[in-house]
Symmetry: C2
Subunit: 441 residues, 2 copies
Amino acid sequence: MNQTSTSSPPELAPLKVAMLGCGTVGTQVARLITQSGDDLRERIGRPIELVGIAVRDAIKQRDGIDPQLFTTDALGLVTRGDLDVVVELIGGIEEVRPLVLAAIESGASVVTANKALLAADADTLSQAADKAGVDLYYEAAVAGAIPIVRPLRESLVGDEIITVMGIVNGTTNYILDKMCTTGADFDETLAEAQALGYAEADPTADVEGYDAAAKAAILASLAFHTRVRAADVYREGITRIAAQDIRQARVNGCVVKLLAIASSLPDGKVSVRVHPAMVPNSHPLASVSGAYNAVFVESREAGRLMFLGPGAGGAPTASAVMGDLVTVGRNRVRGVAARGHNVYAHRPIASMGDVHTRYAVSAEVADEPGVLAAVASCFAEHGVSLQTVDQELGASTDHPTATIQVTTHQANEADVQACVDELGLRSFIHGQVRVLRVEGN
Amino acid sequence: MNQTSTSSPPELAPLKVAMLGCGTVGTQVARLITQSGDDLRERIGRPIELVGIAVRDAIKQRDGIDPQLFTTDALGLVTRGDLDVVVELIGGIEEVRPLVLAAIESGASVVTANKALLAADADTLSQAADKAGVDLYYEAAVAGAIPIVRPLRESLVGDEIITVMGIVNGTTNYILDKMCTTGADFDETLAEAQALGYAEADPTADVEGYDAAAKAAILASLAFHTRVRAADVYREGITRIAAQDIRQARVNGCVVKLLAIASSLPDGKVSVRVHPAMVPNSHPLASVSGAYNAVFVESREAGRLMFLGPGAGGAPTASAVMGDLVTVGRNRVRGVAARGHNVYAHRPIASMGDVHTRYAVSAEVADEPGVLAAVASCFAEHGVSLQTVDQELGASTDHPTATIQVTTHQANEADVQACVDELGLRSFIHGQVRVLRVEGN
């Protein structure tokens, strides 16, 4: 009974992976785990095995996925106790938080693409992961396939980041692009995007900037090592962008983009905001078109960097998930976990009124002597220095009007808003005073 | 004597760092370690201490660096036995290899910016690091501040990379840019670049493509998990690029760039090459100007990604070094090391003749009937399909000549070269047949 076995070395125990959700991204992740088994084993150092997928409808056939993997018991799946990694691809917050926490408490590392959950609860999740000694990775949560989380978390971690500015929502980028090409207005372009499947039936999360705000919160937390939640992000969507704003941008040598901006202010505060802005054609973000995403980073030492790639879609997002899965797998093989999200700098969030940037302000005005001077004086009284002033006469001769447009030098948001509010009360202004920030010099 | 001490928790032992070399990059790294101590402690989880710097001249003053840190005994420094990390910034191969290996064998992790050493000896270094259980990181070795090593090593490690194509040498990019702007020839532009400090007195490593070839080898090894050394890389520099090539590129809607290209061929081979090429203006690499670097990656799942940033310089390169230093420090705190360079796919290196790409071929020819047909036939006989054929008459009426230019569809390099060699023998060809590959569709 004391015989020593001389058999060949035992096959390494596989890395056991469970998935929550099996939609566009999940299907691709399941395919890659199955298809790339040999490469993944070499890259991780152990074989990988997909042991279960929690779905709402376990009966529905999904191409190329073993139907026996499906279960409707998500909680049972993540708490079975032998999992190495749980890949969360359901999305949303309330339904998913307890599942992710249960997975972590059961000893599984978590890979997630869930920007909303992270932007709401990164602290809770990160602390739970640190306590359980497991990993929490989320490259796919921001800008799809573009490696941006890892570069911020590791590559630039010895540098001091000043600004992160990104086009992180493909739907709005597609709509603004189309408006620019066709000259059409927002409502018309949205309807077309919906018909083509580029925008959801309920487009609120995209067009009102909620999706971009969640990503901005994640980017800001990583860049500045401080806690930023989606609720901390100043947010304006693109629903009020009109064809005339796009035209005005073109006159200024700019395009209109929905930007997510996180910046470190000289007073130590952090400003995080999502809003449409004019971007000069010469800026690398200006040429990012369609469903592409891009993130521009400026740091003290590295200078200006840009990361560009597909911002969404099943396969690109799955690529980011798989990168995390291999990284987490490698950590498991070595019996370690990465540290959590390294929040140590408790920096206050700046209010939007604290922001300094440039502005393009336009309005239809009465074509009367002294109007341009009155407009210029109003800016001067509010301490806003102008860079350009243009006045273009209207076509009608019955009610002579002109369109006046000014662009400012760097100015304080609160000062500009006060000036715009005051201009709105003047009798020579016809209709609305339109304001767009100008970003990226 | 059994009393339990109730003192406050002991100060954590600092991470001990030694540096080899203190030039442009080293000075910046020393500054950052000293200046950013508080942030680095939070990010690493332990304080960081620079304990020594090996230099050739220990007497020379270096701004802001404690002169007591300097030593000329590099081997003594790296083998003192208590080091956590050695940062190698000397460069070169023979002098440095034994120092890096001694550091590793003494238990120190290594962070290096030394592309030449890695492109020659990555296997040796990586195996030594694995054996000693220490880290080997080298983000700064390719494309300066641009995070590209870590994205390939981790973010895209669950994907299948098809091509990596980069502008990875700032000097040649500056020279080609200038040639494009001024219309001047290579020699004149190089002399100007040398006068301005953008090119070395001995510019061989840059203009002959050796620097880019080392980087291409590193990128290819990471992308394809296979061993690629600098000696495996096909290499052509930019010294033969003439003003007429730049003009011809412009006619084709292209610019000329020195590219480092690593691609996975359908037959399983890996092709790695450095040469000048025409790049269409519409390609994102075309607008990468001056001292900027950019790396374009195409993968099966993620699709097309691009990484852009400063490719050289003290502070940008120091940013990349510092990111590695923090990562290695975090690993030390957890008592682990990352796996080495994960070479498991022993893929053969394709010869240049195996490559398929597009070509622009031009020559001065006699302005006689039948020449265009003869040129076209020659391509046809070699199985090369043409996309465009242009013939432009020369100005002289005494010796009527024309410039003929063809662009090909995707064609085999060996076929194109055989065709060009044959054309060179024809009597109607005056002077040299000029060939430039066309990359990036």
